[in-house]
Symmetry: C2
Subunit: 343 residues, 2 copies
C-alpha cells in the first residue's frame, strides 16, 4: 500500500506535569503524522533543540510565556531548516529560530519565525551568538553596567549563560568570580576561560570561600540561580552594587519554591543596591549590533563558545533532567537532524 | 554651697540592647553634668527629637551608621538650638540639625552640625521639610520615577514618610493606594489626604483587598515595611514596575528577622521589575531645590504636614515603642524644649 514511505513526525510528549522533581518518566516518544502546511505557513525541520532550565520553569505556571501542560509536545526553542514555505520571505533551506517544540517537524505562521543570517557554525547560533549569548550580553552590559576594575560575580558560571557573562566581564576589564557546582567546573572556569576565581556552592565552607574570592566585595552580581547563592551574594555586595536577575534555576525543579533570600529588602536599603530582572527580548531592537560585537569577541579570541551537544531527539528528556542537576558544561543542545546543506 | 543652681543634662540611656521586642524597660532617665565645650565645638540644646523606626534598626547592628550599644545615651536625630559656640559659623540662637541623642544638651564639632534656614514652623523641619519629607521626595521621584496615570502603592502609608509619598504621588498625577495598620488610618488617608484607596494589612482578606484596590496593578511600590506586605505587593506589580526600598519596619523590632519575600528573584525576572534601595543622604546635593519644591506644595495646599508631637524627653522611650507598634499618625517627634526665641 506504500505506507512504508509515509513520513512520520517523531515527537517527545510531556505526558504529565511533574509534582516535584522532573524525571525522564514524565516524557514519552511518539510518532505523529506530518503536519499540513496551510497558506501563510512554513514547514520546518528541527536541526538543534535548545535545552534550557527555563523549560522546567514553564511547567510551574505562567512566566513570560504561556505555561505548558501535560499531554502535549514538550515546548522548546530550536534552530530549524525551512522544508516547505507557503509564506512570503521564507524558502526551503533557510535557517530559522522557532518555538518548534521537541519534535522533528513543525509548522509555523511566518510571524512566528526569525530568519538566521548564518555567520558561524550553527551551534554558535544557539550558544554565543544565540539567545544565550545575547542574554549574557544585554544582562551584563545593560542591566549590570560593569565598569573596568569592578568585581563581577556570576552564578551557574559554567552554564550556558554564566560562562559567557564571565568571559564578557573579563573583556570589559573586570575581576571575575564564578560560582559553579563542582571543583571540576571551577577549574575549567579559571584554567580555560580566564576567570580570576571560582567557588563551588557545594563546598561546605561556601560562604567563607566566596568572601575570600571577593576581597574587594562584589559590584555586579549576575544571578542565574536565586536561592542560597543569591543570599550569600547579597552579603558580599558593595555599596551601590547591582544584581542582575536573569534566572532562578535553584527554584525551578519543584512545585514548592523556597522563601526568598534574607537581606531583601534590608541590605538593598543599607547598601543602596539595585536588583533588576530582565528578559532578553526586551533588548532585541539592538540585537544586530550585539551580535556583531559578540562575533568580534569570538574572532578576537576573547570569547570561547562552550557547547554541550547531545545527539538525538530521544535524548532530550535526559538532557533536560541532567541540566537541572547541573550536568552540563556550557550551552546544552540536542541535535535532532543534520545541518542544512550549504551551512 | 550653690549647687542647687548647677545645671544638669537630663539623658535617656539605653541600658541594654533588646533581645527581642523593645520595651520601655530597656531605657532609664539619668542626670549627667553639663558637657564641656572645647575649641571648635558647639553646645546645643535639644528642641525636637525625631522618633524613627530606624532608631530600632540601629540596635540590630551596623547599618548606614555605627550600631548602638547598651549603657549609652540613646542615639537620635534632633533639631536643636545653639547655646554656646567655640566654632566659626555657629552662633547662639542658630537652629541646627544634630545627631544629638536623647538628651537635653549635647556638644558637637562644627562638622557634625547643619544649620537650618527656618522657613516654617519648626516641626515642619522634622516632617515635610526635614529628612522625612526629603526621603519621601527623593525616593518617590528619583528612585520610583512615577509617571502620571500610573498606580503608586505605599506601605506604612499613615507613617511619617508614607503619608508624604502618597501626597506627592497624587501631586504627580498618579493613582495612589496606601497600606496601613488600621481602618482608622485607612479612613484618614482617603478622607483627609486624598489617597484613592487604602487597605489595612491586618485585614484577614488583605491580599484580596489589595488586589481590588489596584485594578490596574502597581507601577511603583514604595516599601517602608518589607515582610508580608512586600511579598503581597510583588504579586501585584506590573511589567517594568519599580520597587523603592526605603525601610523594613516589619523586621526591626526583633533579633531574628524573617526570611525574605517569595517572588524574589523570580517575579523580578518575569515582570522585569527593578527593586532599589536608597538612603536620603545620597541625594543631598539637590536638597535645597527639593525643599523649595516641598515648600511650594505645602503653600499650594497639595501637601499637608501630618505630625504627632509628644511632650517631654522622658516620654521618648514610650514614643519609640509605640511607633514600632504602629501607634503614630504621621511624623512622630518629642518636644524636649521650647522653640528658640524668634523662630
Amino acid at each position: 500500500m506504500g505506507e512504508a514511505n509515509v513520513q512520520v513526525n517523531r515527537q517527545v510528549v510531556l505526558t504529565r506535569l511533574p509534582e516535584d522533581r522532573l524525571t525522564v518518566d514524565h516524557f514519552a516518544v511518539r510518532e505523529a503524522p506530518m503536519p499540513a502546511v496551510g497558506d501563510g505557513q512554513v514547514l520546518c525541520r528541527t536541526v538543534l533543540l535548545s535545552i534550557d532550565a527555563a523549560n522546567r520553569a514553564w511547567m510551574q505556571g505562567a512566566t513570560y510565556r504561556d505555561p505548558i501542560t501535560g499531554g502535549q509536545v514538550m515546548a522548546g526553542f530550536a534552530l530549524a531548516e525551512v522544508v516547505e514555505s507557503k509564506a512570503p520571505g521564507f524558502a526551503p533551506g533557510d535557517v530559522v529560530e522557532a518555538d518548534a517544540g521537541w519534535q522533528e517537524f513543525s509548522v509555523h505562521p511566518a510571524r512566528g519565525l526569525a530568519k538566521v543570517a548564518v555567520r558561524a557554525p550553527l551551534t554558535h547560533h544557539l550558544s554565543v551568538l544565540g539567545v544565550t549569548g545575547l542574554t549574557a550580553y544585554f544582562g551584563l552590559l545593560r542591566v549590570g553596567q560593569p565598569r573596568p576594575g569592578e568585581t563581577v560575580l556570576v552564578s551557574a558560571a559554567a552554564g550556558a549563560t554564566g560562562n559567557v557573562v564571565g568571559q564578557l566581564a573579563k573583556r570589559a576589564g573586570c575581576r571575575v568570580v564564578g560560582v559553579a557546582g563542582s571543583p571540576d567546573k571551577c577549574a575549567f572556569l579559571t584554567e580555560s576561560l580566564g576567570f580570576d576565581a571560582a567557588v563551588s556552592h557545594r563546598d561546605e565552607n561556601f560562604r567563607a570561600a566566596l568572601k575570600a574570592a571577593c576581597p574587594d566585595g562584589v559590584d555586579v552580581y549576575f544571578d542565574n540561580t536565586g536561592g542560597p547563592v543569591l543570599e550569600a551574594a547579597l552579603w558580599r555586595m558593595n555599596m551601590h552594587g547591582r544584581i542582575v536577575c536573569c534566572g532562578v534555576v535553584s527554584q525551578y525543579d519543584t512545585n514548592a519554591p523556597a522563601a526568598g533570600p534574607r537581606g531583601v529588602p534590608g541590605l538593598l536599603v543599607t547598601k543602596r543596591i539595585r536588583m533588576e530582572g530582565f528578559i532578553v527580548m526586551d533588548f532585541f531592537a539592538d540585537r544586530a549590533a550585539a551580535e556583531d560585537d559578540i562575533a568580534a569577541a569570538v574572532a578576537g579570541g576573547t570569547l570561547q563558545a562552550v557547547e554541550d551537544v547531545i545527539d538525538g531527539l530521544a535524548g532530550a528528556p535526559a538532557a533536560l533532567v541532567g541540566l537541572l542537576a547541573g550536568d552540563n558544561l556550557g550551552k546544552r543542545m540536542v541535535r535532532v537532524g543534520p545541518d542544512p546543506a550549504g551551512v
